[in-house]
Chain length 252, copies 2
């Protein structure tokens, strides 16, 4: 290993609000010479890197994004020039963060690295709703899933993991709400399954929607443009509109 080589920190920026960053991450940003950040990271979080060159690497679902190999190369080159290189990712880097590709590239290039975990969007959303993802006697398991729509699988793997968990959190799926609804209904999930959708969790612009599975397709009309997650399961019954909860319990 080159003794003059710097270190790359893969850092979770948390669910959105700048003060939901960890203390360790904030200290690293203050020390960083260069920061590569995802498009979803809050500008105030990026701004904590007061002495750093800040490079957007625009990873954002369904928008123009920087090629992963290019990001990998940037990180390696930056470590050859700077002592503290921060790669800032939304949420936690080890959950749907594509961290493994960057880690593998850093290892191949013998660049020292360290992971700084973060608060994932699901926890920001659960906090916003005031609903725990687990609950004694109701939910003992939680699945975090990215739905994979339209790949011709008869019963997609992601659907099975949703079915077998008490609570499920779908990342990056709101734009395909109709297909997700169809896949879950086809697989036999109850039409009355309570659902909560949280957009921009933890930010002042946050919006919360709740419905049952049979109404999930209507989420397409809610004008959701920010990052959002879909959450399913009995624990979300308490955030259903009162009329709907009453109707459901009448049929229970």
């Amino acid at each position: 290993m080159n003794k003059s080589m710097g270190k790359v920190y893969l850092v979770g920026a948390g669910p959105g609000a700048p003060d939901l960053l960890t203390v360790r991450a904030a200290r690293l940003l203050a020390r960083a010479s260069i920061v590569f950040y995802d498009a979803l990271v809050h500008p105030e979080t990026v701004a904590l890197a007061t002495g750093a060159n800040k490079v957007a690497v625009g990873k954002r679902c369904s928008q123009i994004s920087t090629d992963q190999r290019f990001i990998n190369r940037c990180l390696i080159e930056a470590a050859q020039k700077h002592e503290v290189v921060v790669r800032l990712k939304g949420g936690d880097p080890m959950l749907f963060g594509r961290a493994m590709e960057e880690i593998a590239a850093l290892e191949r290039a013998h660049v020292p690295y360290e992971i700084v975990p973060g608060v994932t969007a699901a926890f920001g959303a659960a906090a916003q709703l005031g609903v725990s993802l687990t609950e004694r006697g109701v939910a003992r398991s939680v699945a975090f899933v990215t739905p994979r729509i339209g790949h011709g699988e008869p019963q997609a793997e992601w659907v099975k993991s949703v079915l077998e968990a008490d609570t499920a959190v779908l990342y990056m799926g709101v734009g395909r709400a109709r297909e997700i609804q169809a896949a879950l209904l086809d697989a036999g999930l109850s039409r009355a399954t309570p659902i909560a959708i949280v957009e921009q969790a933890s930010l002042p612009e946050a919006r919360v929607f709740s419905c049952v599975l049979s109404d999930l397709h209507q989420a397409m009309d809610w004008g959701i443009t920010g990052p959002a997650i879909i959450m399913l399961g009995e624990v979300f019954r308490r955030v259903l509109p009162a009329w709907q909860a009453e109707l459901l319990s009448a049929f229970a």
Copy 2:
């Protein structure tokens, strides 16, 4: 609502290391008049509440723990006397944190509350290992589960959610490693499934073990006394001892 009533903050303390607390949580602790903390929270984290009366409410798996109803009553009474009441829980409050019972009690008593999310142990453990819980082409779903051993269910729910997820994280199970192994093998999970166990994730005392499912019972001999999580799935193949990984690929 009583206008002079304070607010209760249910705060995630993160996976262990004091600097893996969020900035928001650190600021709340500095303002708190009283803090009720779980036994697993790091003493340095509790010490951030410089002006607070600090009350241990000793929730810890398989050890003496404070009755939940007593904790609920303490929180309500504290809010009647203090402006900022912090309830500090390990990890994130909304994942295996029994937060719903406290939230329900606060709502019944009309006590204002707010949830501050935290970094869960699984993310601390993944960071420690340098292994992402998800990986393109390998793992698109992650289940977080508390195993329920010896309740006479023919195939326990928790086992199914482990089977159907690409990656699984078992909280609070190391003491029952043998029973967990038996349940997963009985359900048909491959004996060669890679496993990583992380004890005291994110702390200097952290220890990491890796093996395959057929050797999981040996975890009972590793002298694990601190909080630990068991993680299963293909993504952990890279942390298997080299001889074992080679052996497995020879039989693949």
